[in-house]
């Protein structure tokens, strides 16, 4: 479904992603792991079109999208969430979600007709709020939500664009165990609807969710395979996993 061919990115002399070739298959939860600074977020930004690709190609559902602008990739079915929560803080939960639905449904170069008349947008936003378990807070301003709730909305915004491939950049960042468990539950529920590329540090979550794992170190992909194979891979253990998985 998604194919990266020899994708690279340099910032001056610093190599962020280096000749990455990777395939995400339809229906899988593909985890991308690696130590801090390995280039995971850079790669997500390159896939979503926020950062340009210096060399290589990005192919989504058979189409070369290497030069497609970010907003057009969303329309093509590729959405991302952010590691650092990026929501519309002054909008309510419902307004956030309705906005993302609006982005997908028809042109917004409409200057006269009141938005309030479009009940379909709000109806879908309500359903989404229920999906991400925020329906009881749907009228609360997003900036006032608890951290875990903001993280859920973060994923909800991406989900509202009805992606076929969802890029989740550390959805559990900064979460306590309880909040993490809820997020894992949410991703579990999503996996039947959407293919997921998941960047995550929480190894429990990764091994619970992932059907395949790729490992990025210093911008290079050093391994890609089934969780059990990755767990045993000596190079991965040396570079990243250390002893915390030996047990």
């Amino acid at each position: 479904m998604l194919e990266l061919r020899n994708v690279s990115k340099h910032f001056g002399g610093v190599v962020a992603t280096d000749d990455v070739t990777l395939e995400v298959a339809l229906g899988e939860v593909h985890a991308l792991i690696g130590p801090n600074g390995a280039g995971k977020t850079t790669l997500i930004a390159q896939i979503s079109g926020m950062l340009s690709v210096d060399a290589g190609r990005v192919i989504f559902e058979g189409e070369d999208i290497t030069r497609l602008p970010a907003h057009a990739r969303v329309r093509a079915g590729l959405a991302r969430s952010y590691q650092v929560t990026s929501i519309f803080r002054r909008f309510s939960v419902l307004e956030n979600l309705a906005l993302a639905v609006q982005a997908r449904s028809g042109s917004s170069f409409s200057f006269w007709r009141p938005l309030a008349a479009e009940t379909a947008l709000v109806d879908e936003a309500r359903a989404l709020a229920r999906d991400i378990d925020l329906h009881e807070k749907q009228d609360v301003a997003a900036g006032m939500l608890a951290h875990g709730e903001q993280r859920a909305l973060e994923v909800g915004l991406a989900l509202a664009t009805r992606p076929r491939l969802l890029l989740l950049d550390e959805p559990m960042a900064g979460m306590g165990p309880q909040e993490s468990a809820r997020m894992i539950g949410l991703i579990e529920r999503l996996r039947s609807r959407v293919t997921v590329l998941l960047v995550e540090h929480d190894m429990d979550a990764v091994f619970r969710l992932a059907s395949r794992i790729s490992v990025l170190v210093n911008g290079r992909l050093i391994a890609s395979g089934a969780p059990q194979a990755i767990r045993r891979d000596p190079e991965v253990r040396r570079a990243y996993l250390g002893e915390d998985l030996a047990a």
Partner: protein, 318 residues
Amino acid sequence: MKRVLACFVVLAAFPLVMQAMDNLFYVSLASRMLIYAIAATSLNLALGYGGMVSFGHAAFFGAGAYTVAILATEGISNLWLAWPAAVVVAAVAALMIGAVSLRTRGVYFIMITLAFAQMVYYIFVSLKEYGGEDGLPLPGRSSGLPLSLADDVTWYYLVLALFAATLYGLYRLSRSRFGRVIEAIRENEVRAEAIGFPVYRYKLACFVLSGAAAGLAGALIANQASYVSPSLLHWIQSGTLMIMVILGGVGTLWGGALGAIALLALEHLISDYQIDWLERLAPNYQDHAGLAVGVVLLAIVLAAPQGLAGMLSGKRRA
């Protein structure tokens, strides 16, 4: 809604009262205020609603004014031709300036819009056949209506109608799909792009609409005094419009209008009346009217950080 209605009733009754008091000067001053209210409202669309701090709005205001003046000099004074032309010229200028400027952010955007506006200013200064630095008098106010616009009361009502239309347009826009998108872009541009909005196009459209409305205000100001000069395009004019918006309330429906009316009223009050107790306190203060206006503005902005509109409504900004 009741307050809005009351406001327009007062505005509509104003010239009748002044006529009764035989004081038509104030009708003319009020028309001027309403024209600036349209201009400031147009800037508020870009600055307040769209979050684009344009420091070159005088370019569109002035371009609209000069379009009407130049057409009138060439014998075209029909408002059905000249005014739409002014709007189109301003919109095209906004499209060109915006297309380049909107590729930058923050301070760079402020500086590049300022630079473009100054370029437009010098273009009109150099147009010797249209008055150059001295400006260009119009043969008279535009024609094309069954009523003569030379009459100040008729003129006032036409300006009032266009002011109401502008405000209603902004009201509708702010509640439309488009309005929601530009609000979202102001709030979080990166995420707006990431959920699928072509941010640049929306900002450019907002900027062009804003410029077009400023062009309409320009067409009116040219008629107001039947005279245009390059000072309409000077950066000080851009600054004045910006002060009006900040004073009135950034991103509020009435912000531009309140700011424009308040600032012009203040300037008039300070430079045209001698206030005895103030004269005793600060002798010859009228020679430093700019400074006096500045002090009062500072006080208002400190007392009402959300602007006059925020003070009056007591609600959060739009």
